[in-house]
Each structure stands twice: as C-alpha cells, then as structure tokens.
Symmetry: C3
C-alpha cells in the first residue's frame, strides 16, 4: 500500500479485515516491523479517537511517533500556486510537505472541509497536495470528503458481529445542531459498496450524498422502510451536499429511537462517535444491547494497525527487495 486515502487503496478489502482481526488477538505480533521508523501525525483539526487509536496502532508496531496540533501552533499554510505571500500564511505547502517528509517515514494528516467551497473540498486539495509534495506515504486521518480508517473499523465491526453471510446495513441520516462534513457517510458508503452487504441509505430530501459515493446503494426518504429487517443501523448526521454545507432539516422525527429499532432484525446500532445523545439517538438505544459503538471505536486500533502494516511492508520491500 502506497498511501491510504480511500477504499481504492485497499487491494483486497476482505483480506484487510481478516488481518485486522488477527491483530486484535495478537496486537504485538509485528512489534519489530516499525523499528527505527517514525510516523508523524499532523492535526489541522482536533481529534480524540483518531489520535489515540492511531498512536496505539503505531506503538503496537514499534513505530516512533511525533504528534503536532498544527492549527494551535498557528502554522497557516498557503496552497495556491504563484501566491504572493504577504498575508497570514507563513509557509507554502511546497516547502512544508517535503520538510515534514524529511523527518517522518509515514505522515498522517487530518484536515476537515471548509463546507463553503464544494469544488475545493471535493478536489481534496489539502491531502492531495501532501501526497504530491511530501515524498512519503500519506495516511488520511479524515480528509475533506473521506474518513477511511473509520470506515475500515466499521467494516471490521460488521464482520465481527454479523449473523448472516450478507447482512442488511442501513446508513441513516440523523439530526444535529451543527453543520457537519459528509466525510464519514461518504466513506462508509464507499466501503459498504465494496463489501458483501445489502446496503441502504436513508435521509430526508435534500441530503443526497455525492453520486460517486452513493454508487449502487438503495436510497430512500422513508426511514421506517429502510429500518425493516436491518442487521446494522449506522447513524450519522451530515450537512447538505446539494446546498453545500447547509443545514436543511433538524426534524427530531429522524432521531434513532427504540421504537424504530424494533422494526429491525434486532440490529446492532453503530455510530462513529462523538454522538449527541437524545438528538442523534435516544439514550434507550445507546444504553441497550443494540449499541456496539464502544466496540466499534475500539476497532479503530486494528484498522489503523493493519493499514500501517501494509505501508511498512511496502517501504521495507522497496528498501530491501531481496528480502521478498
């Protein structure tokens, strides 16, 4: 694996999931793989789960770590070619990225969308410029339009908990107080489309995800219909793609409730967290046997660890082709 930016970087999705589950049983099996190598984690936006789980995964592989909160240090980056840099941006990506590449063997980047400029966000300007200029493998720690480490952890969780070969998985929009990115639902859709599941998306009108992510998924505005016989309910709020970054609807009728869970096939309830209780989902659901959100968050370690393993193997192979 060269970089990890989307499902397209996973050569074999099922193999990744299987290896991740092996790591869950034997976390330190490859402790020597990262020896004398360093991963840098650059956070342009705040992070809890991604930060801690990626650190743990890297440590399990024996990698050294350097973590930087880029925003807090006021390191404004310029991305425009030809810019006359007389404003508040102190450094151009053309220097910043290759310099970070001098200090790290693998670089993780978290950078959220503007939610204002759709074209810019969907071109993945920030992370793609790091890919172009860093000269080292880049791991997305959530980019403008995708959160692949989360999606892989989601798939691992489904694999662990499914009770039939091809479960019904429902991604449902849910209300929220803020305008949120589409990265998690986009990415989840992309990975579900690559997995062996019966995938349904449900949301109010106007919340259609970008077609390239929806793919062949069934889409319905009728949440109750979607929930029928579902094996997994994956709740998430997102802002509109159409009317970009806007909140069109905060209708509490879209909250996931115990009554709705009764329509399902005793489904597992999933959410990437953090989740606002009694806005996105009722207390009763999160506090019931349906909820697997903590196990799902725990699987973030194995998702990151298997990705870092693949990247390390490629680095080692390139350095020492005779080993392979």
């Amino acid at each position: 694996m060269q970089h990890f930016l989307s499902v397209k970087d996973a050569i074999d999705v099922q193999a990744l999931v299987k290896e991740a589950l092996l790591y869950k049983k034997a976390p330190y099996a490859d402790k020597h793989l990262g020896r004398n190598r360093t991963m840098g984690l650059l956070f342009f936006n705040s992070s809890l789960r991604t930060r801690l789980s990626t650190q743990r995964a890297a440590q399990n592989l024996g990698l050294e770590l350097m973590v930087m909160n880029v925003g807090q240090d006021g390191w404004g980056l310029e991305f425009e070619d030809g810019a006359i840099m007389n404003g508040d941006k102190a450094e151009h990506i053309k220097e910043a990225a290759p310099v970070v590449g001098q200090y790290c063997d693998i670089v993780g980047i978290r950078s959220f969308p503007t939610l204002v400029n759709r074209e810019e966000d969907y071109s993945e300007k920030v992370i793609n410029q790091f890919v172009k200029h860093t000269g080292k493998p880049i791991v997305s720690l959530e980019s403008a339009t995708r959160h692949p480490l989360q999606s892989l952890a989601d798939l691992i969780t489904i694999e662990e908990l499914k009770t039939k070969p091809r479960p019904k998985v429902v991604l449902t929009w849910a209300p929220h107080v803020k305008a949120l990115p589409q990265a998690v639902p986009n990415s989840f859709a992309e990975w579900m489309n690559a997995a062996d599941v019966d995938f349904v998306i449900t949301h109010p009108e106007g919340y259609e995800l970008a077609p390239e992510f929806v793919g062949n998924a069934k889409v319905t505005y009728n949440q109750e219909e979607a929930f029928k016989d579902a094996d997994f309910i994956y709740a998430k709020n997102w802002s509109s793609y159409e009317q970009y970054g806007k909140i069109l609807n905060q209708d509490p009728a879209w909250m996931v409730t115990m009554d709705k869970m009764k329509l399902t096939n005793n489904a597992k309830f999933m959410h990437c967290l953090p989740v606002r209780r009694n806005i996105v989902v009722e207390d009763a659901v999160l506090d019931s046997h349906h909820s697997v959100v903590v196990q799902q968050a725990g699987n973030r370690i194995w998702s990151a660890q298997v990705v870092l393993k693949q990247i390390l193997l490629k680095i080692i192979k390139e350095e020492s082709p005779y080993l392979f």
Copy 2:
C-alpha cells in the same frame, strides 16, 4: 491496587514510601513491567510537574504514553444522565470514558473543581464517572478534592528528611491572589493522618477544611504557636470550604517568613509548587537551607512510579494468575 484516587487506595502507606525510595536508587529496575502497555494522560486542566513526572515514571517502567490536553481540543464532555445534548457538549462521559479505555491500559485524569458548586466538587463527579465508565484503572492527576500523587511525594520527602521517628508536621495556610482549590491541603491532611507524624493545621478563621479531611489533626488559628518546634512547615493557600471557593483573607501577616522559621526546630520548608514568592513565602526562606521544594518536586517521579507499579502488578496478576 485497582485505582489511585486517595490514601484509601494505598494498602500500606509505609510500604509504598519504602518502595518509592528504592526506585529513587534504581529507577529502571522494573523497566520491563510496562512492556506493551499504554498509559493515557488526559488533562482537563494545565499541568507541568504532574505531566512531566508521571511521564518520566511511566517511561521508567517501560510504558508507552499518550498525552492529551482535553480542554485545548475543545472536547466538551456531558456528565448528566438523560441530557438532551443540543448545547456545546459534544460527547457524553458514557461514550468518552469507555472509548479511552479501549485505547489505554491505565488512564490518568486531571480535572480541577468548579469552586462554585461544592456538592458537585466534593462528590468527585468527574473522576468518579471515569472510574465508573472507563473499565480500566484510573490514576488521579489531581481531582476536585484531592491530589494523592503529590501527597505521596510529600510523605516520601518527609521520610527522607526526618531526624526523629515522629516529626512535627505543620500545614499552614498562606495568602494568594487567586481562589485556589482545597485539593492539595485536603489530600496532604489525609495522608498525614495516615502517617506516623504529629500533625497540626493552622489557618485564619473561616478557612476550616472539610471535617472528613481534617480527621484528628490539631487545628489552630495561631500560626506562631503552630510553628513552635515544627520539623516540617508545609505552606499552601486554599479558598474557603465554608463560604465555598471564596477568598476571605489575603493578610500578608500569614506569609511564611524567616522570622517564623526561627520558631521551628530548624524545619524543612515544603510547598507543592508553583509558589508565588513574597506572597506565600519570603525569598529568604526559599533561598535558604530550609527549602526542600525542589527535592519534593523531584520525588513526584517516585511517587507516580510506585503507584503505576502497583497497578501494573494487579493487571498482570489478573491476566496471568498462574504467575503468582
């Protein structure tokens, strides 16, 4: 040791002190004890000594570390059951704590009191919710009402420096410009009451500590009387418990001076630091042979290290009962 929240978690206070002093002579004796385990340090409030000394202690035991400044990343936590989370709190402790527990083997928490709501502070709401929901051992890095790693370091320092079997130890209130928590004096009193010392507390009227911490200590409003023949003077400001969180007195006559030190039995001067010079204590005292504040701060490493050792031993014992 399951958790470390107060003196009650120390099965044998004297044994802890002795083991700490052994670590001071041989810091790396148990370097392999923490192998393949990770400690997370979550700071809801800023920290210098606690942060660095706990990191060093963990490194001495071979633990991996993950440090998060929770406040700076704007991770507002909800603690109320049944809350409708439509405000600025993005995550409930019921998810946050067990998720952190997925990534760490031991979790350290620093969370200061509100100094507004006494009942809430003295119920230790924050740290107790982490104990309840994390599913992993919790170490207090200073909670609303206690700072046990500091108190253990204080006791180690007294053990190192005492010149008689049962020294006279005086906790004296001192002036300050800000309203400070009662955590350090509460905790110090709790540990002194468990140690073999002649313990006296002195403060102006209205600064009585909570009775459950004062215990059987002698209490006097007469600072000079308290200082007579003292072997250790422990200075600290705190705000009122009675008129909760209020500053009732900034009388400079309560500052610790060289003249007052002359009343003592050539006492050692202690303070948990940071200390405001010429407000809490005169320069002359801090710059004299009386002051042991740097040695006391240095002992924070051994205090943390012996606590982490006890917790690691319990983890290992539970995982591999046949080893013991």
Copy 3:
C-alpha cells in the same frame, strides 16, 4: 559538550560537521547511547522544524522525550530577583528550572526575543537563567539572539554541496511583512566566521547586525555586487538591530530573483524556512535547481543528533569516568 547555546560550545566545528554526515549515513549507529535518559523540549514559542527534527534526532539516539508547549498552558514565568509575585506570573524561574531539571537529563528551550527591549534580549536572559538554575545540559532550540542548531545544519549543507575548498557564502537580507528576530542571521554569521568560507553580508542601510556577530565578514549595501560569483546565497529577513525591532524597509527590490541568481556561480539558494514566496524569494528560484531548502531542513536532524551525542557522551563520562 556541556550546553549548546552558540558556536562557542562547539569545540571543533569541522569535526561536528563530519560526525553529522556520518549520522546521515547511519542514523541508528548510536541508538543505545540515550537509553534510560529523557530529553525535555520546552517551547515558549511555536515550532515545526525544530520540534520535529529534534524529536527525530533524540529518537535516533534512543532518548525518551517529553514535549511541552509552555505558552499554551499559560505557565507565566517570573525572571526578576526579589519580585513580589502578585501578578500573572505563577512561578519563578528559580523553582521552575530546577524542577524541570529533576525530570529531564537534557533540556531544550525555545524562547524568542521581545524585539522591544534590546538589552534584555541580547543578555539572553531567559536561556541563561535556565542554564543557571536547571542543573542539566541546556540545548538552544532558538533563543533571543541565536539559533545554533539551524546554523550547524546550514554548515552541514554547505559542506555537502560545496564544489571548491573555500566557497563564497552570501547572507542577504530580504523583505518581509513582519518584524523578525535577528537570531538566524546572527547565528549564521557566527558559524560562517568559524568556518572556512569567504563570507559576505548584504543588507539595506540600517540593518547592520550587532558587531559581535558580524566579526570580520565583508558587509555591503550593494546586493548585486555581493551576489557576484557567490556559491551559496542565504536569504533571510530580520528587523533592525540599530532601531531595535523596527521594520525600516520592505523594498521588493531586495527580493531574491532568478535574474540575481544569474550573477552567481550557479549558487545554491538557502533559507531556514518557513519562507514567504514572492516576498523573500521568487517562485522561480525556489522551484529551480538552485534551491536546496528542503535538503537544508532535512539536515536539522543530523545537526541536533550530533549535538545530543556530544552532550550524552559528557553525561556518561561524568557518571562512569572509568569507561573512558
């Protein structure tokens, strides 16, 4: 090496450069040198390159690391003797420094100048107080008037790339939008004066550096004359030393351009980064074969690593004199 604050701490500049280039070929040759020792990095000001490269260097030597953003944690330090600390400074350097010294074996300090009080800045008050009170080796991560880890990396880069025994090296002032410290040009001048190069400084009138740094360098207000036959062009903005901290000139005619590079002996273009494109230097130069700024930034690792090695050797020698 006891401390690393300026070129004066380098016993043999050429030997340091040679050892650094050996580390570049074999980064982990001394991995066991730092075993069971900890370096603390205290940043009073923000940092990217220095932070990451020093971390990497320390990791290459097997050192443990503790990194603190001092400013962000609001840890206001008092430096005045006899101060009555009733303001916003919570701790005196007389306690803070020795306490940090209790937790770390080597301490790195970054502290920028005020650019207001020249006497204070040029007395190096902050870093010198850490030297005085910490009781452990201090490494400058850029102080008020010097940036020696940068200058050593600069010299390493010149050594790597020079095509004649005694190259012509030109330090040129360049425009900027902000008032910047003199630390980088001061330090560069100090190191070039200690190296075997033909050293020229060029800047507009009023931008004279302090005489103790200029030394025997040739100084000219004529940038074009300075560039003639140069082998290395080192661009940097700085504010006035004379009219302390002031911007006297933002004349874009001082920007480094491709036309000016044509006057040189196919010179390498150097800058410590971050660099503002099309203000300090034209895109055309940075995007050409002239620019070696990324390689120069990469050499920060080897600069820090060779300094830490020298310091570790002195620590080990003092602890175990019979080893040597």
